[in-house]
């Protein structure tokens, strides 16, 4: 009450602004509520949806099309496979976030889970029908692209950052040129090159899977940005840390691994997580090269069906919710990591 009085109603001007904004906010909220909840149609009934147009949302589009939105062009009868594969991959990612699993043997778990993921998705063995990667789509593809890009970009970003700080002029210029080049172009053009230009340079008859090419492009792109974030952390490390390490007889890699990088990375956890979150959302751009991840599969689901074409907005809100859940979790996780790495810093 006191807070209200001293912050929102402390003079005539502030009071009237508060009342005005409050009224607007209330109006907007009731309108939104009416559209999204009150007047909304929840069943997959095109007639009802049509009747409610303009006043209520049609969530029926989600009920009708969720299989395509979530799994894209993956054959309908086989969709238990991406479901199982995605659950496995998510479990692996969740576990990797926990301290108890930060062990060497967990790398083996990664290899096993990724192999199982690939077998389930691709099939061709164990009596599973083959589903080529151009048919993969929806959420499984989004999660696969995001996690693999992050997994690849992190070590590459570290190497690039170290390279850019190196005493060796050749390595330093190579890394600098690479980083500036990649940062100078949009992701879309890198994706285009990976998917259309790159095959032109390949010998006749050979081809690399489009998914792999796109993944490599995303890794190369994300790594350049990550490298700059990490370089910021490296610059925060006082010279004395290097000198102490060197005078204790440590070589370059040992020093980086045990002394410099742990401290440098700890100072830039928010920046790194920021990068991971953008990478996650950047996966939506691969639609442009005909990979139907979550955003692409939504188009696929509604664009071709005149009955439901009108309710794309509802579909977008639905996948926005999915993106939000993932990105918000990442951001909460980032705060936890920050607390973990700052434990030694208490005075």
């Amino acid at each position: 009450m006191n807070w209200l009085r001293s912050n929102l109603f402390n003079n005539v001007f502030n009071s009237s602004v508060t009342v005005l904004l409050g009224t607007l906010l209330l109006y907007a909220l009731t309108q939104a509520w009416g559209w999204a909840i009150g007047q909304a149609v929840w069943v997959a009934d095109a007639e009802q949806c049509h009747a409610a147009r303009g006043t209520g949302a049609c969530w029926g589009v989600v009920a009708e099309k969720y299989r395509i939105i979530i799994f894209g062009r993956y054959p309908f009868e086989e969709q238990w496979r991406p479901l199982l594969a995605t659950l496995l991959l998510m479990a692996l990612l969740l576990a990797s976030c926990m301290r108890v699993f930060w062990q060497r043997w967990f790398a083996a778990v990664w290899v096993v889970v990724l192999t199982v993921f690939f077998i389930l998705m691709h099939g061709g063995v164990l009596g599973l029908a083959t589903v080529t990667t151009d048919q993969w789509g929806g959420l499984p593809l989004t999660i696969l692209l995001a996690s693999m890009s992050v997994l690849g970009a992190f070590p590459l970003g570290i190497l690039l950052a170290l390279g850019r700080m190196s005493d060796l002029p050749v390595i330093r210029s190579l890394c600098t040129v690479y980083i500036e080049l990649i940062r100078g172009v949009p992701l879309i053009s890198v994706l285009f090159m990976a998917s259309f230009l790159f095959p032109l340079f390949m010998p006749e008859g050979t081809s690399i899977d489009v998914l792999v090419r796109v993944l490599v492009a995303m890794v190369l792109f994300a790594a350049a940005y990550l490298a700059e974030v990490i370089r910021g952390g490296l610059q925060a490390i006082p010279r004395g840390q290097y000198e102490a390490a060197v005078s204790l007889g440590m070589g370059y890699w040992l020093m980086q691994r045990k002394i410099i990088l742990p401290q440098a990375l700890a100072t830039v956890v928010p920046g790194i997580m920021n990068n991971f979150i953008s990478t996650f959302k950047d996966t939506s751009l691969v639609t442009i090269v005909s990979l139907y991840e979550l955003t692409g599969s939504l188009d696929l689901a509604v664009n071709s069906d005149p009955d439901w074409m009108a309710y794309k907005l509802e579909g977008y809100l639905f996948i926005a919710l999915i993106y939000f859940v993932f990105c918000f979790s990442l951001s909460r996780y980032s705060q936890w990591v920050e607390r973990q790495v700052n434990r030694g810093k208490v005075h």
């Binding site: 006082p238 004395g240 204790l248 040992l254 030694g344």
Partner: protein, 247 residues
């Protein structure tokens, strides 16, 4: 091979192209000798001792450590750095590691000691500097004097034959200076070769075999502590001592 532990012969060093920081340094340090280096700020004291473990590289002349001539040869460098321990003004402990981890990191990963043995040795060194009860704290949870004693213990874990101190007490509050000097005095009595940049003249008088005075990149004067303090020969030394001892 000479019986000198450290030998500078006609050493010159420049920072950049123009700043001549060490000028014709000739210095021989005997095995087990304890040397105090003093001189005005910016006279090149830190640079001089940092040339011994090649934190800085010299451009002319030779620096020999226990018979090994310093060069860019990484093998030689590694050998030399195993023999030479260094204690810094700003301690330079690793803040993300506990005190014990600070002490065991190099023994485990550089000297390939088993972890248990490294920890056992580390605890012995911590007892020696009277700080064993802090083994599991993080450096920033300790006082400056305690941190510097940890830093000393850290270099001792590698059993160095030479110890370099670069103004080890300059960053400390006055009440903590003595606890660090006591540890250094104890070390000096063990027969380890010591080069110590310091303005603690009491320490110099009671511990040093030889005091060296540097100014503008040159060794201006060296003598045993008694004669150095009572009969300084050069005018620059006299002026410096007058300033230091006035405090």
């Amino acid at each position: 091979m000479s019986d000198y532990m450290i030998e500078f012969a006609k050493v010159n060093k420049w920072y950049g192209n123009h700043f001549h920081v060490l000028r014709d340094i000739d210095l021989q340090v005997r095995r087990g000798e304890r040397i105090v280096i003093c001189g005005p700020s910016g006279s090149g004291k830190s640079t001089l001792i940092r040339c011994i473990n090649r934190l800085e590289a010299h451009q002319q002349g030779t620096v020999t450590v226990d018979g090994l001539e310093l060069s860019d040869d990484v093998k030689v460098l590694h050998e030399v750095r195993r023999k030479v321990g260094m204690v810094f003004q700003q301690f330079n402990l690793f803040p993300h590691l506990t005190v014990l981890e600070n002490l065991t990191l190099a023994p485990i990963h550089v000297n390939k000691l088993p972890k248990a043995e490294a920890e056992e040795r580390a605890m012995l060194q911590l007892q020696r500097v009277q700080i064993a009860e802090q083994a599991h704290k993080y450096p920033l949870q300790l006082s400056g004097g305690q941190q510097q004693r940890v830093a000393i213990a850290r270099t001792l874990c590698l059993t160095p034959q030479i110890l370099l101190f670069d103004e080890p007490t300059s960053a400390l509050d006055p009440e903590m200076i003595k606890e660090v000097l006591d540890v250094m005095t104890e070390l000096a009595e063990q027969g380890i070769t010591m080069l110590c940049v310091t303005h603690e003249m009491g320490f110099a008088k009671s511990v040093a075999d030889r005091v060296i005075f540097m100014d503008q990149g040159q060794i201006v004067e060296e003598n045993n502590p008694h004669d150095f303090f009572n009969r300084p020969r050069s005018e620059r030394t006299q002026a410096f001592l007058a300033k230091i001892l006035a405090h």
